[in-house]
């Protein structure tokens, strides 16, 4: 699903900062992989590159066999819309839209009619136990509820890949577990490839594979046997 070859990335903010120093990584279709590492180790940068939210300086990135390099904004927007779902630490819901409208937004950009996309969005909210909250604004909901709305939004367009950057970072341990259960369920039932960045060991241990990151390079990969 994901094939990274010798990815380099340098930030030029003041003094140059070499964040990724030649990363090679393969993630198989339907896999559930976590990336761990200290802050500043480059794990989030890697996730952003995989999500085409950021570009890379050197190397090659193939997504589902397609080389993702030097795409313009319109092209990358299309790839994101069709193939990738995002779950962010800070949820990134649009605060003046209701839960339902937030969930339906990816379908708006896919040109699905309003009536149809709202029906689908309600169905997804129902599956995540938030049907009664469909007409609420994000600031009327708890962190766990917001993250579930964000997850519903990330899967509504049936992406091939979900990228989650610290999805449990802003949640307490009970809600964190709920969110992880949902993500695992989505991975298993929909067969969507998951790549999550976390610094919590207990979160990472619920995935199939842990990629340890250190100073812009992969230091080790652990296979986890899920029961």
């Amino acid at each position: 699903m994901i094939h990274l070859e010798n990815i380099h990335k340098t930030y030029y903010a003041g003094s140059p900062l070499h964040v990724l120093k030649g990363v090679d990584l393969d993630v198989a279709d339907g896999d559930f992989v976590s990336i761990m590492g200290a802050s500043g180790s480059g794990k989030s940068t890697l996730l952003n590159i995989v999500g085409i939210l950021d570009n890379y300086d050197e190397g090659n990135y193939y997504l589902d066999g397609r080389l993702i390099k030097d795409l313009n904004e319109t092209q990358s927007a299309k790839v994101r819309n069709e193939m990738i779902g995002f779950v962010f630490q800070s949820f990134n819901l649009i605060n003046f839209k209701t839960a339902l409208e937030n969930v339906a937004l990816p379908l708006y950009y896919r040109g699905v009619s309003r009536k149809k996309r709202n029906a689908i969005a309600l169905d997804y909210l129902d599956r995540l136990g938030l049907k009664d909250w469909a007409d609420h604004l994000p600031n009327e909901m708890s962190g766990g509820q917001k993250q579930r709305v964000a997850i519903a939004r990330s899967i509504i367009a049936k992406p091939r890949l979900i990228l989650a950057d610290e999805p449990t970072g802003a949640l307490d341990s009970t809600t964190s577990q709920e969110v992880m259960d949902i993500l695992r369920q989505v991975n298993r039932e929909e067969g969507i490839t998951m790549l999550i960045v976390t610094h919590a060991r207990e979160v990472a241990e619920q995935t199939n594979k842990i990629v340890n990151f250190k100073d812009g390079l992969i230091s080790s990969i652990e296979d986890i046997k899920q029961l």
Binding site: L53, E73, R80, F86, F96, K97, Y109, R114
Partner: protein, 416 residues
């Protein structure tokens, strides 16, 4: 398209204050522009109305006193127009389309039984009616036969008639002017400079015989065709002064011996003033419009900046740059159009309402000279101004949105 408006409606609903401020600066800009231009036009229309009581190219000639010695005669000598001087003028002026010597008796009593009106009595020739744009509302004006036969007939204003005859029809009735009986033959109305006590008119020859046995005339008015600009009118005045200087024995350079009042130059002078006022009003109006445009640009700039994070989210979800651009541009187009329209409607309603109130007042009180008349604005101008603001609003939304759209999604997402 319906979806797009749904999106726009949502953002507008979410930002009521901002939308109101943007909209208000547009509405206010248009509104003030209309009020300003309307006020300018009203002033101009009111003043120009005052000029209509005389044909634009009429010239009046009044005798004065010499201010220079001439041919051994001292200065300070009185110049007078005798009957033969008048006939000389009548014969020698070219291109004259109307001509009337005027004898004015400034205080004269016109009496019917116990009712008295005191006003100016003017002895005039038939041409006077055209020259002063008198409108005959009933009966007729003085004609050539009246003048030739020295008929004792009088044309009065309806206000005079009302005092003298109340509800009776005054036409054919007899009145006494300074103890001499006259027959009322017509009622006239005067455009523009209506006076508090309107004059009454009798044939010039009648006036000369009864009230002015000496025959000297102190006012000659005539209309000369082909005088259309300042130079021609100055030329004509100089020619006229030279012509009369020989006959009446005064220095041709003496400006005080005769007074030449030239309506055209008065009119053109007023015209210059109004052009100045119009220019001033336009400058302020355009300033207001610019202030509106700047206001809109400012708010759109802040809006787009505030929404950078939201744009980042939308991009992560697969929004193309074009779709975001379209969202912003349509939003500002919608706001500017709606509020521009509101400002336009309110402004036009106010000026039109004011115009109709003024028109009613003017009709009710004809003796008041109006400074202000029909303060309305050309609708094309209003539409053009609104269009300018709408276009400015769209550009004001487009430019910062274009910049925001080109930000990398990850940077937009990190924008707080």
């Amino acid at each position: 398209m319906k979806d797009l408006f749904q999106e726009i409606f949502l953002t507008i609903r979410a930002n009521k204050m901002r939308t109101f401020l943007t909209g208000f600066s547009i509405s206010w800009g248009i509104f003030m522009l209309i009020i300003l231009l309307g006020a300018g036009n009203g002033l101009q229309n009111g003043m120009m109305e005052g000029f209509r009581y005389m044909s634009k190219n009429s010239i009046s000639l009044y005798p004065g006193f010499t201010s220079m010695p001439y041919n051994g005669m001292q200065k300070g000598r009185r110049i007078r127009f005798s009957q033969s001087d008048i006939e000389f003028l009548r014969r020698n002026l070219t291109n004259v389309s109307a001509f009337s010597p005027i004898y004015n008796k400034w205080s004269s009593n016109i009496v019917n039984g116990k009712e008295v009106v005191s006003s100016t009595m003017s002895g005039v020739e038939p041409d006077y009616q055209v020259m002063r744009s008198l409108e005959i509302t009933s009966g007729r004006f003085i004609n050539l036969a009246d003048n030739r036969q020295n008929r004792k007939v009088v044309v009065i204003h309806p206000k005079t008639a009302e005092v003298l005859f109340h509800d009776q029809n005054p036409i054919g009735q007899y009145v006494e002017i300074d103890h001499v009986p006259f027959q009322v033959i017509g009622l006239y109305d005067e455009d523009g400079a209506a006076r508090r006590s309107p004059s009454f008119y009798i044939p010039l020859n009648t006036a000369q015989i009864i009230f002015n046995p000496s025959g000297y005339i102190d006012d000659v008015s005539f209309v000369v065709e082909g005088i259309e600009n300042k130079e021609q009118s100055t030329d004509f005045s100089n020619k006229l002064r030279r012509m009369l200087s020989q006959r009446l024995q005064f220095d041709p350079n003496d400006q005080n011996a005769i007074w030449i009042q030239d309506r055209l130059s008065d009119y053109m002078q007023a015209q210059t003033i109004f052009n100045g006022i119009a220019l001033f009003v336009w400058i302020i109006g355009i300033g207001t419009l610019i202030a509106g445009v700047v206001g809109v640009s400012n708010i759109m700039l802040i809006t787009v900046k505030e929404r950078t994070h939201e744009f980042g989210v939308r991009k992560a979800l697969g929004a193309s740059p074009r779709s975001i651009l379209r969202l912003v541009v349509w939003e500002s187009l919608t706001i500017t159009t709606i509020f521009g329209y509101i400002g336009m409607v309110v402004g036009v309603l106010l000026t039109e309402g004011l115009a109709s109130i003024l028109a009613q007042n003017a009709a009710a009180a004809t003796d008041e000279p109006h400074i202000f008349l029909n303060p309305t604005v050309d609708l094309t101008v209003v539409l053009a101004a609104t269009a300018i603001l709408v276009v400015a609003g769209v550009v004001a939304g487009y430019v910062p949105a274009k910049r925001a759209v080109n930000v990398k999604p990850i940077e937009a997402l990190q924008h707080k």
